[in-house]
């Protein structure tokens, strides 16, 4: 997937992107083992608040979603639910080799192999797992991408919704979540 890079934003969109790049709210939902890299990233050692980023409890108020590691089919259903609840513009940062090609779970019956078939990924961080330095570097990259108007994953998802939906249904059969304790 190659996201379009030409800049055809109008002035107000440029201004909006400039300001939203400097106050990014991160959705507080972690999958897989990379969640443990976030406490040092958030707290005093690396302190992502220096970049104007902070955690947010609900998807409707968040701007960026971090996919921190492998995704089982069960988790992917919840991730798609949360992603579709987020308001535009919204960004996805994927951590580690598991989201790129399955990583060590390449032959697992329960984990997906390639995340960008299901939801649009703006930025991948390589590593297993990436250290907080790499995560901070990626956040700085994300901010500059938003300022330049290159983080267009959410627009790509709107324009190619049928393609994403087909891939999701091929692997998951249905995205709707059944829960025996609430039905």
């Amino acid at each position: 997937m190659v996201l379009e890079n030409q800049d055809n934003r109008n002035l107000w969109e440029k201004i909006g992107d400039y300001f939203s790049a400097n106050s990014i709210w991160m959705k507080w939902y972690c999958t897989g083992c990379g969640a443990i890299e976030l406490p040092p990233t958030m707290t005093s050692r690396f302190d992502m608040e220096r970049l104007g980023m902070g955690p947010m409890a609900t998807p409707r108020q968040a701007d960026v979603m971090l996919i921190t590691g492998y995704l089982s089919t069960k988790t992917l259903r919840r991730v798609i639910y949360s992603y579709e609840q987020m308001q535009d513009p919204k960004y996805i940062v994927a951590f580690g080799s598991c989201t790129i090609n399955g990583g060590v779970y390449y032959d697992s019956y329960a984990t997906i192999n390639q995340l960008d078939k299901y939801i649009p990924v703006d930025l991948y961080i390589a590593g297993c797992m990436p250290r907080p330095e790499a995560v901070m570097n990626a956040f700085a990259d994300l901010i500059s991408m938003i300022k330049k108007g290159q983080a267009n994953g959410w627009r790509h998802y709107q324009e190619n919704y049928e393609w994403y939906k087909k891939n999701q249904l091929d692997s998951l059969e249905e995205v709707i979540i059944h829960d025996e304790f609430h039905e």
């Binding site: 329960a110 192999n113 390639q114 091929d170």
Partner: protein
């Protein structure tokens, strides 16, 4: 500690029809029993202090065409574990539930049913899915299930002509 375990092993040997017993460590021993004696064994072990059912699990002995059911019980006062093992048939695997002895077995039996396909008579909830949401193949922890084939069928792989491998034997600097 070894002493109290030897006492318990002797008691168990006197009361139950033990096919084979094995000392695993100085706090842990295993007994193999017939599948008809499991409920008697669990009831007896519970009465002498093995009050916690730590887990029920299963091993697929595909060469012998058997499933081995494993019940691990814990005695909190002596710090001892006993592993009760029994073999059941692999074709149409079915066994009788132990929820009337250990109510917590409900979820362990559900898990064994989901991952090995063993049905437990008397535990209706064991037929419900526990961890897998929509499953469309044979139970995934059986030895004749190939996860690579399933993964290739369900999850698309990244097509790349570049394969990066680390060098075996280290990199010359």
């Amino acid at each position: 500690m070894m002493n109290s375990m030897n006492n318990i092993m002797k008691q168990v040997d006197d009361v139950l029809n033990v096919l084979n017993k094995e000392v695993i460590s100085n706090r842990q021993f295993a007994i193999d029993i017939n599948k008809g004696d499991v409920h008697q064994a669990l009831t007896y072990l519970k009465s002498i202090g093995f009050t916690q059912l730590s887990i029920i699990t299963c091993v697929d002995l595909i060469a012998d065409n058997k499933f081995q059911l494993i019940y691990i019980l814990n005695n909190w006062e002596l710090g001892l574990f006993v592993i009760v093992r029994t073999d059941i048939d692999r074709d149409n695997p079915s066994y009788v539930t132990v929820v009337n002895i250990f109510p917590g077995a409900k979820y362990y039996e559900r898990e064994v049913h989901e991952f090995f396909g063993v049905t437990f008579e008397g535990n209706d909830s064991s037929f419900k899915p526990l961890l897998l949401e929509i499953w469309d193949d044979i139970p995934p922890l059986r030895k004749d299930f190939d996860p690579q084939v399933y993964s290739d069928r369900k999850f698309e792989k990244r097509d790349s002509d570049k394969i990066y491998r680390s060098k075996i034997g280290g990199v010359k600097l």
